[in-house]
């Protein structure tokens, strides 16, 4: 019964690169509908962890359970189909394509028409494409204010916008679980404000579970309901933001920039 309300569970997950231990028996439980932040210094294994969740890396031991169903053996695209969707630390957009096409790709698995239908492009396939476009206009592009640039080629966009397109692509399949890998890294102040706004909006309006990785403590402290801290591939602390703030171990890692600024 516990399992039911836990949206995502990670049980003693371990991952090695050659001799290096990237993850060491990590345990995590993420409740439904919250913003869960994972923090820690560089190389603590945060990104490795989410790469395991989305199956880009195959963990050497441990298992991952999503909605009470084990997803450890699945292939990356299958994970995506379960409703887990993610953004990338250094944006992995398809630079040659337009914003719209990139975002359409997010909904890839929601489209039914196969190659033949596509070739004929009559009736079903055509309608589907049109519906898709109207859907994206209504739900995603407006929401993230991308409508004016939807026909621009991604490569020509500034960094901040690209980050937003990345987010839009992650949102377009209407996932239930959203992984954000350093969404505000390298953004200026107001871009960061926007992003924070969006994150909170996504949480409240769309009611998604959000799994956040971020260095920017301001953002983390403002948006998270629960925080886990990692160091050298191990989880060293977990709890409410206030609790984590006070945790001496965490302070030791983060000595220097204390959380007062947040």
């Amino acid at each position: 019964m516990e399992i039911a309300q836990h949206h995502l569970e990670v049980h003693n997950l371990s991952l090695y690169f050659g001799g290096v231990q990237a993850l060491n028996r990590v345990d995590l439980k993420v409740k439904k509908g919250i913003v869960f932040s994972l923090i820690g210094p560089n190389g603590a294994g945060k990104t490795s962890l989410i790469n395991c969740i989305s199956k880009f890396y195959i963990p050497h031991e441990g298992k991952i359970i999503f909605n009470g169903r084990e997803i450890t053996p699945l292939r990356p695209y299958e994970v995506a189909r379960c409703g887990i969707s993610r953004t990338f630390q250094n944006i992995e957009l398809f630079k040659g394509m337009t914003v719209l096409d990139n975002i359409k790709l997010g909904r890839h698995n929601h489209l039914r028409s196969g190659p033949l239908a596509g070739m004929i492009y009559w009736g079903k396939a055509k309608r589907e494409e049109e519906e898709l476009e109207t859907f994206l206009d209504r739900e995603i592009l407006d929401f993230l204010g991308l409508t004016p640039i939807k026909h621009r080629v991604v490569a020509t966009l500034p960094y901040g916008l690209q980050k937003r397109v990345d987010l839009a692509r992650a949102l377009s399949p209407k996932p239930e679980f959203l992984i954000l890998d350093e969404p505000v890294a390298g953004m200026n102040r107001e871009e960061r404000q926007d992003m924070m706004k969006h994150i909170l909006e996504i949480k409240t309006v769309w009611g998604l579970t959000i799994f956040l990785i971020e260095h920017d403590m301001e953002v983390v402290m403002n948006v998270s309901d629960s925080i886990a801290v990692m160091n050298f591939g191990e989880k060293i602390a977990e709890g409410k933001p206030e609790a984590v703030k006070k945790n001496p171990e965490v302070i030791r890692i983060y000595l220097g920039h204390s959380f007062t600024e947040g």
Partner: protein, 294 residues
């Protein structure tokens, strides 16, 4: 049994020539990440140049070989400097096809200059031949085998110890960083292409003096691909071993398998092996696996 021995020897002798050509391809890939389809044509052109110097201009063999190597080096530089340098950062696909284009240019050039009939390549080596298990192995084969082995050792040492060799490996590994470290990647690349084209020429000359000299000699450029795949794209030792393996494989399939399957099975045997190896070891037997990152 005796037949088998003979087959092996036959395979190794021709295989050593495959190795020679393959080493060139591997060299270029190691230091510039370019896969050179033009290696075969390079060999062919080199052989033709040597031929014209020796027979048409009557230059003594040693000198004409030296001149040929110089010219080959020049061709190598030209290709690197005026074609591939413009393609740094282009997709591997385009680079491969550019080298294909170069092949056409070279073959066409050879065709225009020398025409497309068979020529007799002058005898480079004393006509003595060694009796090995019932096969008279002409000195040419021994020479090619020796050359291949010597080259192998040289390059292995070169890449391990010499400053330039390290520089090559570095710039192959990560050009930006290499440049940042003050390695002139241009110099490295030019050098590689020089070495590669000289090696190719050597192979071409040996090949031409084994069989007749003809434009189609550039066909060897296709045979070496199973070799380098089996050996692994970035391993010189692999290329050498691969050459011998393919040589022996062809010989064996020519004698033992072809009679049952019919046709020129010898031809496809190498490619069949290539497919199988790619299935089980996608990066060849000696090749280094590249790790993808996000």
């Amino acid at each position: 049994m005796e037949l088998l021995v003979q087959v092996m020897i036959a395979g190794i002798t021709i295989g050593s020539i495959y190795s020679l050509i393959a080493i060139g391809v591997v060299l270029i890939f190691k230091s510039s990440g370019v896969i050179n389809f033009a290696q075969g044509s390079m060999a062919m052109i080199g052989a033709f140049i040597a031929y014209s110097f020796v027979t048409q201009l009557g230059v003594p063999i040693v000198f004409s070989l030296l001149i040929t190597f110089l010219i080959a080096a020049a061709i190598g530089i030209v290709i690197e400097r005026f074609v591939l340098r413009y393609l740094t950062g282009a997709s591997l696909l385009s680079i491969i096809i550019v080298t294909l284009g170069i092949t056409f240019i070279m073959d066409g050039g050879a065709l225009a200059v020398w025409g497309s009939s068979n020529f007799t390549f002058p005898k480079l080596f004393p006509a003595f031949s060694l009796e090995l298990g019932g096969i008279k192995v002409p000195s040419v084969y021994l020479w090619s085998f020796i050359t291949a082995m010597v080259l192998l050792v040289i390059f292995l040492l070169f890449f391990k110890y010499s400053k330039m060799g390290l520089a090559m490996r570095a710039s192959a590994d990560n050009q930006k960083v290499a440049i940042a470290l003050g390695i002139s990647s241009r110099k490295v690349l030019s050098l590689t292409w020089i070495i590669a084209s000289i090696v190719a020429t050597g192979g071409g000359i040996l090949l031409a003096s084994i069989s007749a000299l003809h434009v189609n000699l550039s066909y060897i450029g296709l045979i070496v691909f199973p070799v380098i795949i089996i050996g692994g794209l970035d391993s010189i030792a692999g290329a050498t071993v691969g050459g011998l393996i393919v040589g022996v494989l062809e010989a064996i399939s020519g004698v033992y398998i072809a009679p049952h399957l019919g046709g020129a099975f010898q031809q496809v045997a190498a490619y069949l092996l290539l497919l199988i190896i790619l299935m089980v070891k996608p990066y060849g037997l000696f090749g280094a696996k590249t790790i993808e990152r996000l």
